[in-house]
C-alpha cells in the first residue's frame, strides 16, 4: 500500500517535471554492478546522482522500503537499434543505413526518443543503450551513439562513441579480401595527420592520394571518422565468429593499437586464452548455441562460463532490440550453465560502461548517475519485472504501449474496444 501511494507521488513529481530533493532506497539487496557480492544497504539519491551508498540509515524526503528486493544498476543495452528502427520489416521506419556515407555514417541525428521500444525496454530494466547502424559497404565503418532512454526530446547522448565493422563468410568474396581492405584502410587512417583535415579540399587531396580511399569513394566525413578511430582510440566493434577470424583481428588490433571489441564470437571458446591475453572484450549472446553458419561451429551453451574462467571482459546482446531486455534471460541461462551471477550482472551494467567509456554509469556507487532498477524478484529470471526504474535520479513511469493494450483488452468489456481507455 505504501509503495502504491509512493508511486502516485513519484508520478506527480514526474509529470510536473519536478525533482524531489532526496530519495532513499532502503534495505535493498544491492548488486553494485562490479562483481562484488551483494550487500544489504541503503541508496540515497539526490537530484540526478547517487549521493551515498551505505549500510547505515539515512534521512530523505521520500523513502522506498526495498526490503527483500534486489537492486541493480540500470541495464545498458550494448548492441541495439533502439530509437533508430521502429518496425524491422518496414524500411520507412528504419534509420540505420546510409547510401552515401560508409565509414563516417552516424545514426545520432535520427534518434527518436518517442519510439515505442523505449518505454517497453526501460519498463523491463534497460535504462540506456548503444544504438548501432547496420553494417556498411566498408568492412570497417558506421558510427554508433549512446542514448539515455528517458524519452525526453532534450536527448542525453554520447555521440559517435563507437565504430563498427564485420568480417566472415560471405557469398561474394573471400575474407582475405576483407582483411586486405581493413589493413589498407587502417594504414591510410594511421597516416592521416590532423593538419590534413583542416578543409574538405585538403581531405579530397588525401583521398585522391590513397588508392583504397579513392576506390571506396570515401567522403570527408568518412576520412574524419577514420582519423578519430585511430587518434581517439575509438572503440571498434567488429562482428565475427570463426576462431581464425578472431585471431586475425587480434593481430590487426596489435598492429594498429586498436581499441577492439569482438561481437558474436561464437567460436571464442576455442581461442579463449588468446582473447584474454590480448585484453579484447567480447559482446556475446549467451543463449545462442546454434551453429548458425560454418563460421560458428563451436557455438556452445557453456561459452559464457568458459570465457569468464579466462578472465575476459564480457558483455551480452540479443538480436532483437524490441526486446533487448531479454539479455536478462540470456544472462540467466549463462548462470544456469556455470557463469557466476555477479559477472553476469556486470556484463549488463559496469562492463559496457567501462569498455565504451560511459562515465559515471553502470554502477551503484556514490557520485554516479542514479540509473537504478528495483526488481520484484531475481532480475535474471525473465519472469521478473522492475518495481521502479530510475534514470538520472528520476522515477520513470513504467507504462508502455504494450501495458496499455493489455489493460484495454482486460477491462471495460461493456464498451467497444475503441471507446475503452
Amino acid at each position: 500500500m505504501f509503495i502504491k501511494i509512493f508511486k502516485t507521488f513519484l508520478c506527480f513529481f514526474y509529470v510536473g517535471a519536478l525533482y524531489s530533493e532526496t530519495i532513499l532506497i532502503k534495505n535493498a539487496t544491492i548488486y553494485d554492478g562490479v562483481k562484488n557480492i551483494p550487500f544489504e544497504g541503503n541508496i540515497l539519491i539526490e537530484n540526478e546522482m547517487i549521493k551515498r551508498v551505505s549500510s547505515t540509515n539515512m534521512q530523505a524526503d521520500f523513502v522506498i522500503d526495498a526490503s527483500g528486493m534486489i537492486v541493480t544498476p540500470g541495464i545498458i543495452g550494448t548492441d541495439t537499434n533502439i530509437g533508430i528502427v521502429e518496425i524491422g520489416a518496414l524500411s520507412v521506419t528504419r534509420d540505420d543505413s546510409s547510401k552515401i556515407y560508409s565509414i563516417g555514417f552516424s545514426i545520432h541525428d535520427a534518434f527518436n526518443p518517442k519510439s515505442t521500444l523505449i518505454p517497453w525496454n526501460r519498463s523491463n530494466g534497460v535504462t540506456s543503450a548503444l544504438s548501432l547502424p547496420q553494417g556498411t559497404s566498408s568492412p570497417i565503418g558506421g558510427l554508433g551513439s549512446y542514448f539515455l532512454l528517458d524519452g525526453e526530446f532534450d536527448i542525453t547522448s554520447n555521440k559517435d562513441i563507437v565504430m563498427i565493422g564485420s568480417v566472415g563468410g560471405s557469398s561474394n568474396k573471400s575474407r582475405a579480401e576483407t582483411y586486405a581492405v581493413m589493413d589498407d584502410l587502417l594504414s591510410f587512417a594511421s597516416s592521416i595527420n590532423i593538419r590534413d583535415l583542416s578543409s574538405d579540399a585538403d581531405i579530397a587531396e588525401l583521398i585522391e592520394a590513397s588508392p583504397i580511399a579513392e576506390f571506396m569513394e570515401l567522403h570527408p566525413r568518412d576520412v574524419r571518422a577514420l582519423f578519430k578511430l585511430i587518434n581517439d582510440n575509438l572503440p571498434l566493434i567488429i562482428s565475427t565468429h570463426r576462431a581464425s577470424d578472431i585471431l586475425k583481428l587480434i593481430e590487426l588490433k596489435e598492429k594498429y593499437n586498436l581499441n577492439l571489441i569482438i561481437k558474436g564470437a561464437q567460436d571464442a571458446s576455442l581461442v579463449a586464452s588468446k582473447i584474454a591475453e590480448s585484453n579484447t572484450p567480447l559482446i556475446i549472446n549467451p543463449i545462442n548455441n546454434i551453429p548458425g553458419s560454418f563460421d560458428e561451429l563451436a557455438s556452445n551453451i557453456q561459452m559464457a562460463s568458459r570465457l569468464e574462467r579466462e578472465g575476459i571482459d564480457l558483455m551480452f546482446n540479443t538480436p532483437r532490440s524490441h526486446n533487448f531486455h531479454l539479455v536478462r534471460q540470456g544472462a540467466g541461462v549463462a548462470v544456469a550453465n556455470g557463469m557466476s551471477y555477479e559477472t553476469a550482472i556486470s556484463a549488463l551494467t559496469s562492463t559496457p560502461a567501462k569498455v565504451f567509456n560511459i562515465e559515471k554509469r553502470g554502477e551503484i556507487k556514490s557520485g554516479y548517475f542514479a540509473d537504478i532498477v528495483i526488481w520484484d524478484a531475481d532480475p535474471l529470471e525473465p519472469s521478473s519485472m522492475p518495481e521502479y526504474v530510475f534514470i538520472n535520479g528520476k522515477s520513470i513511469d513504467l507504462t508502455s504501449r504494450s501495458s496499455r493494450l493489455r489493460d484495454r483488452y482486460t477491462s471495460q468489456p461493456e464498451k467497444p474496444n475503441t471507446y475503452r481507455d
Binding site: 515505442t116 546454434i290 560454418f294 563451436a298 524490441h322 534471460q329 550453465n337 519485472m385
Partner: protein, 462 residues
C-alpha cells in the same frame, strides 16, 4: 493340385500382394524406439500436463509406458531407481511450431528448404521431404526437454504444404523419425508474407483481399475434387469399372484431406481481424482450424478463438519485426488461456531453434505476465501450454503430452522447478528409452557434428 491351379494360386497371391503395395500409404513411419528401460522415479515434484501438481510423488516407467503414478510406489529389483528428491518431473515438451530440418543449421542456401515459394498454393509439398535428418539442432532441443515437435513449411505461401510431427530422435531417414499415427497438418499463412512474396513479382496475391480470394479459390477446387472422389467411391464395383477414376491430384489430395477432417489446419496469422476472416473462410468450406500460429493479436479475439475451439500457438513476447506484429501484449497467452471461463487453448510455440530449447522459460514469462494482468493461473496449468495443448493440436494427445497411466513414457526430469531460468533438463526419456542424460554426458550427435572442428572429437565435446 495341378500345376495350373498352383500358378493360379501363386498369381492370385502375387496380385493381392501387389495390390496391397499399391494401396499402402507412402512415407509411413518406420520409427523404432530406443532400448526400453524400466525406471522408478522416486519422490519427484510433478507437473502432469493435465493441470495438476503432485508433490513428492513417484512415477513408474515400464515397457515404454507410464505404468503408475503415486506416493510410495514399491521398489523392486525390476526397476532402476532414480532419486528425484527436490527435482521436478514433467511430460516431454512438445513444440507445435518448428522449422528444424527444413531450415537447418548451418543456415545455408543449399539446405534452406522450408518455402516452396514458386506458387501461392503448394498444398502438394510435404515438409518431411525437405527435412534434413542430420540437422544438429535436434540434439539442442532435446537438451531442453523436447521429445516431439511439429515441423511446418514456411509462410511464403497462402497454402504452404503439409507439416509433419516427429519424435525428437535423430535417425538416418525421415520416416524413422515420424511420429507413428500422427496426422498430417496443412500450413496456411495470412498477412504480410504471401502478399509481399507474390506482390513483389506482380502476381496475386499482392493484397490481403487477394490472400482471402486465393484461399477461397483453392477450397472451391478442393470441394469439387472431393465431390468427384466421393461420387466415384459411392458407385458399385461394376460402375467403377465402367467409369473413369478421377485423376489423382497431389495438391487437391491434401486439401481434400482437410475437408475430410484427416489433416489438421495450422494457420500462420498475426492480426485479429485476419484471424476472424480466416474463421469465416473455414466456415464457408466447412473445415476446422486447429490453431492460429504467432497470433500476436490473439488477445483481441480470445473469446472468438475459444468459441470456435481454436488454439492460439503463440510467443511469450516477440514483437516489432513487422507491422502485423506490433501490438504485442505479454499476457497474450494467458488471455487466450482464460477466455470463456478458462476454456481457451493456449500453446507456447518457438518458431526458433533457440526458443525451442527454453519453452519452459517462455511459459514462465507468459505465466507471470498473466498473473500481473490479474489472472489466477497455476504453474501446473501453464505447463499444459507446452505439453498437452501442443499434443492435442498435433493430434498425438492420445499417445503423449501428459503423464497419464498408459501413455507413452515421454518424461523429463528437471534439476529445479522448470519455471525458473536456472532449471536444466537433466534426464529425458522418449517412449521409455533413455534419450538424454546431462550428468553422464549421454546425448546423441548428428553426423554433421562428427569431427567437424577437431577431427578426433564431436562438435560439442570439449
Amino acid at each position: 493340385m495341378t500345376n495350373s491351379k498352383k500358378y493360379l494360386v501363386l498369381f492370385t497371391l502375387f496380385f493381392l500382394c501387389f495390390n496391397l503395395v499399391l494401396t499402402a500409404k507412402p512415407f509411413e513411419s518406420t520409427y523404432k524406439p530406443l532400448p526400453s528401460v524400466n525406471v522408478l522415479i522416486k519422490n519427484a515434484n510433478i507437473y502432469d500436463g493435465e493441470g495438476n501438481e503432485l508433490l513428492q510423488t513417484d512415477l513408474l516407467i515400464k515397457d515404454r509406458k507410464i505404468e503408475a503414478i503415486g506416493k510410495d510406489l514399491p521398489v523392486t529389483n525390476d526397476f532402476e531407481v532414480i532419486d528425484a528428491s527436490g527435482k521436478w518431473v514433467t511430460p516431454g515438451i512438445i513444440d507445435i511450431h518448428s522449422h528444424m530440418g527444413v531450415y537447418p543449421a548451418p543456415g545455408v542456401r543449399t539446405s534452406s528448404d522450408g518455402n516452396e515459394a514458386t506458387s501461392p498454393v503448394t498444398a502438394d509439398v510435404w515438409a518431411e521431404h525437405s527435412m534434413w535428418v542430420q540437422d544438429p539442432q535436434y540434439t539442442l532441443a532435446l537438451s531442453g526437454g523436447v521429445t516431439a515437435f511439429h515441423v511446418l513449411p514456411g509462410s511464403a505461401n497462402l497454402i504452404g504444404g503439409r507439416g509433419v510431427t516427429v519424435k525428437n530422435l535423430q535417425r538416418n531417414t525421415i520416416n524413422s523419425m515420424k511420429f507413428p499415427d500422427a496426422p498430417h497438418s496443412l500450413k496456411m499463412a495470412c498477412g504480410e508474407n504471401p502478399k509481399r512474396v507474390y506482390g513483389n513479382r506482380q502476381q496475386a496475391p499482392s493484397t490481403r483481399m487477394g490472400n482471402i480470394a486465393g484461399y477461397r479459390k483453392a477450397w472451391i477446387e478442393a470441394e469439387a475434387y472431393l465431390n468427384r472422389l466421393n461420387e466415384y467411391e459411392s458407385k458399385s464395383d461394376e460402375a467403377k469399372e465402367m467409369g473413369y477414376k478421377p485423376t489423382r491430384d497431389l495438391e487437391l489430395d491434401t486439401l481434400a484431406g482437410v475437408l475430410r477432417g484427416e489433416i489438421l489446419v495450422h494457420n500462420h496469422c498475426y492480426r485479429a481481424d485476419e484471424m476472424a476472416s480466416m474463421i469465416d473462410v473455414a466456415k464457408e468450406f466447412n473445415y476446422k482450424i486447429t490453431a492460429f500460429h504467432h497470433g500476436v493479436e490473439a488477445y483481441k479475439i480470445a473469446d472468438l478463438l475459444a468459441e470456435n475451439n481454436i488454439c492460439g500457438a503463440l510467443w511469450a513476447d516477440w514483437w516489432g519485426f513487422k507491422h502485423e506484429a506490433y501490438d504485442m501484449v505479454q499476457a497474450n497467452i494467458a488471455i487466450v488461456d482464460q477466455a470463456r471461463g478458462g476454456t481457451g487453448c493456449a500453446i507456447v510455440h518457438s518458431d526458433d531453434a533457440i526458443g525451442i530449447q527454453h519453452l519452459n522459460q517462455e511459459a514462465a514469462k507468459a505465466l507471470s505476465a498473466g498473473i500481473r494482468a490479474g489472472y489466477d493461473i497455476s504453474k501446473a496449468r501453464a505447463m499444459n501450454w507446452i505439453t498437452s495443448n501442443p499434443a492435442k493440436a498435433a493430434g498425438i494427445y492420445d499417445q503423449t503430452g501428459s503423464l497419464k497411466v498408459g501413455k507413452n513414457a515421454d518424461v523429463v526430469i528437471w534439476s529445479k522447478n522448470p519455471f525458473s531460468v536456472y532449471a536444466l533438463a537433466e534426464t529425458v526419456f522418449i517412449d521409455g528409452g533413455l534419450a538424454y542424460d546431462r550428468e553422464s554426458g549421454f546425448y546423441p550427435s548428428s553426423d554433421f557434428d562428427v569431427g567437424i572442428i577437431n577431427s578426433n572429437k564431436n562438435r560439442l565435446e570439449e
